[in-house]
């Protein structure tokens, strides 16, 4: 209550206006209180807030809010829109804390808005150098919060701490040298008093890692290399010195299990992407799920989805943690639909492979063996002449957030049944230069291929329903206790599906391409659902 004098002063100024207006029904109250680690641990208990990138530490991207539900979702209407001033693909998932929304913008900016009206409190514009090394546009996907501090990745491979009340810069830490090919786009993950954060640059021959920083000071706590050095036996999975430029970036946000004290994170492609000739071997830990000790970053287990990848099939998906009934037992599971076309259920205590089935068109593997390792068809590596393979370079899915509903027990993913002609090229590594070793060619216009939101039973890998999307989607998904799944399309739609059946219940033409994931929150007992499309953040709620 130390801000009481401020409140009184503010209240004293109100009657001047109030005298001319009808009596307000809701008194204005100060908003925003610090987000402790306990609040983050128990984020599901305050569904009016969206406290981290994937909603909760288990990354289910499932909200307990049910004010909007299957029976009334058709009454959703636009409540407000926020125009992002930068013309660039908006990939952000906002956070909401006690009525304040934090939205990241391209290239590396953040703005705080009033969550019920979309009007601003403050903005932070990060100053960037000219010589960025980016494979795929100037994007930022979101912030993390601990206490009263926001943490954001920036395109020049820095991690910045920003005061959540004012937008003031608290500290600015270089994570890696951007001119060598490193960049940062994804939201960090708070683990206790640490900021755990990944790195991008898989198309520049970086050596990947996952870092943890002291949230208070910005000092590095630990760094775990995703390409092990010569002192580690797994270094033998890289021919010669290829590990030095092996890629395996960590460019999407991970998850955390407090009971097991394990941090889970996905890793990207080995470098160069499409030419594996100089990096013979499995190339650990590229294209893998990693489980790391929550205090030290020590690698506890790993599961590699695509050994010796030559198709750019990053395992850059959000690890979704949940309990799954598997063969009569409740297992602490990790659910993962991979860019390579297979869906996996793993035991998240041990990394044991439980389930693996295709969830999208794939032509590269007969199936998975009993350990989950792919059984490849021969002759489908990229070549000088070109070879046609499914999935595409973009993948059967990509970084687009999946969701899981504990009510339906279904895992939801945005899937694409495309095909691509892959080419291999000779390429020498030059620090800071593009290092892909090949390229692709489209086989036919995208209209020829199927895209769909698919609901998967994690106990079996069976697809329970699908909702076809035309021509395709680059959207993440949101599940809610209102028995809804929200998603979008590159054609500019935002829609709601019945979580149990996949039936479409509502849609809106928002115009801009949806490259973000929806989220939901509530202010003063009103539930809102937000989605970034094009360069606008749209927020919907029920009609009065």
């Amino acid at each position: 209550m130390k801000r009481l004098p401020f409140i009184l002063a503010a209240a004293a100024s109100v009657p001047l206006v109030a005298a001319q207006e009808p009596s307000p029904t809701i008194e204005a109250t100060p908003t925003f209180s610090p987000v402790t680690w306990e609040r983050l641990l128990n984020a599901a208990d305050e569904p009016q807030n969206w406290l981290m990138y994937s909603g909760t530490l288990d990354s289910q991207r499932h909200s307990g809010l049910d004010l909007v539900h299957a029976a009334n979702v058709a009454d959703l209407e636009l409540k407000w829109a926020y125009q992002i001033p930068q013309i660039e693909r908006a990939e952000t998932t906002p956070l909401v804390v006690d009525g304040v929304m934090f939205v990241t913008e391209a290239p590396s900016n953040v703005v705080a808005l009033h969550a019920a009206t979309g009007r601003p409190f403050w903005r932070y514009d990060h100053v960037l150098p000219d010589d960025l090394r980016l494979c795929c546009g100037r994007n930022n996907r979101g912030v993390a919060i601990l206490g009263e501090t926001l943490f954001m990745s920036t395109l020049d491979a820095h991690l910045v701490a920003i005061d959540a009340r004012s937008g003031n810069l608290l500290w600015d830490r270089e994570v890696a040298e951007h001119s060598s090919g490193y960049s940062k786009t994804s939201a960090p993950l708070i683990v206790k008093d640490q900021v755990v954060t990944g790195i991008a640059g898989g198309e520049y021959g970086i050596r990947g890692f996952l870092d943890s920083y002291d949230a208070e000071t910005g000092e590095l706590r630990w760094r775990t290399w995703t390409v092990p050095g010569p002192d580690h036996p797994d270094n033998a999975t890289w021919a010669g010195d290829s590990w030095r430029t092996g890629g395996a970036p960590t460019w999407i946000t991970g998850s955390y299990d407090a009971d097991l004290d394990l941090v889970y994170w996905g890793t990207g492609n080995p470098a160069p992407d499409w030419n594996g000739d100089d990096r013979m071997g499995d190339n650990l830990y590229s294209d893998s799920a990693l489980a790391l000790d929550g205090d030290t970053g020590e690698l506890k287990w790993h599961f590699q989805f695509t050994p010796h990848d030559v198709h750019d099939w990053d395992a850059i998906q959000i690890p979704i943690l949940g309990d799954v009934e598997y063969e009569g037992e409740t297992r602490k599971a990790m659910m993962w639909a991979n860019r390579n076309g297979f869906y996996y259920t793993l035991d998240r205590q041990t990394g044991e492979f439980l389930v693996g089935e295709p969830f999208a068109k794939q032509t590269w593997a007969e199936g998975l063996d009993e350990d989950g390792r792919p059984i490849r068809f021969p002759g489908l590596e990229p070549s000088l002449e070109g070879v046609i393979v499914s999935p595409t370079i973009v993948g059967a899915t990509n970084w687009w957030s999946p969701a899981y509903s504990p009510h339906t027990g279904l895992f939801y993913v945005n899937a694409f049944d495309g095909e691509q002609e892959y080419f291999k090229r000779e390429q020498e590594y030059v620090e800071g230069e593009y290092y892909s070793g090949g390229a692709g060619r489209r086989v036919a216009p995208v209209d020829n291929y199927q895209s769909a939101i698919r609901a998967i039973d994690p106990a079996t890998g069976d697809i329970r329903w699908e909702f076809p999307v035309a021509p395709r989607s680059s959207s993440g998904l949101l599940s809610t206790a209102g028995n809804l799944v929200f998603g979008g399309t590159v054609g500019g739609y935002f829609f709601a599906l019945d979580a149990a059946s996949g039936e479409e219940l509502w849609h809106m033409n928002v115009g801009g391409r949806v490259h973000s994931a929806p989220m939901t929150y509530a202010v003063d007992g009103v539930q809102y659902i937000s989605i970034a499309a094009g360069n606008v953040l749209f927020t919907f709620g029920l009609g009065e």
Binding site: L132, G432, S436, G438, G440, R442, N448, A470
Partner: protein
Amino acid sequence: MRRQSRSGFVLVASIGSLVISAGTATPAVAQENPLTTSVDVWMGRRVYLAQCGRCHGVDGTGGGETGAPDLTTGTFASASTDAGLFDIVRDGIDGTAMMGISPRTPDQTIWQVITYIHSLNLDPGDYELPGSVSDGQEIFRGKGNCSSCHMVGGEGRRLGPDLSMVANRRDPQELETDLLAPDEEVAPRWWTLRVTQHDGTIVEGLRMNEDTFTLSMMDEDENLWHFVKSQVRASDRIKKSSMPSYEGRLSPSELDDVVAYLFSLRKERAS
């Protein structure tokens, strides 16, 4: 059908494409491309494949997640001169996924990339055609009945692609294939949608848009239709062309004339 590399014609094509900047977008270093030999094409290709191919495709035809444009047509949405292309390769295009090349890349390398891109472009100087442009125009309007579907310069109908600049995107061999085997490569825009309404009536038209929830099309009387998918009984795609084959309808020399006429329909690059 895919475009073939025409590197054998490159030297001629490159000299023909020397450009003097119009003064709107001028790189600081030079206004003309100084590096236009076949060696420059070869050097530019190496850089293109390493730096550009991921988005623009190994053959330059674009596509993919980034929506990178086709670079093989000879016209570019954001530049009309080599000087403009230089600026784009050097600096990128704000608001798009097009990033500038590494600042360490020398200017000469950028010019070589531009020369390589031009080697992918159609250039009329590469072709000597046997047909007559004026005879082809007459057949187009008369015996061939092409104007009953296609528009050129605002004349004709709307039931096929506007051919006013068709030579910017199709070479003579492709144009001949289009005439003889129109089903070989039908762009999704020219598929036919067949919509069955709940009362059993059927509407067919050329596919102008199809998305998750709606269909838009033009019927043979050039009426515009819009349907909500959930409000119709069925919708089907017919991925064939609505154009007849001209095999046997036109003589070989008449086909040559039509190809010559079509290949004269282009928007020239600024010079």
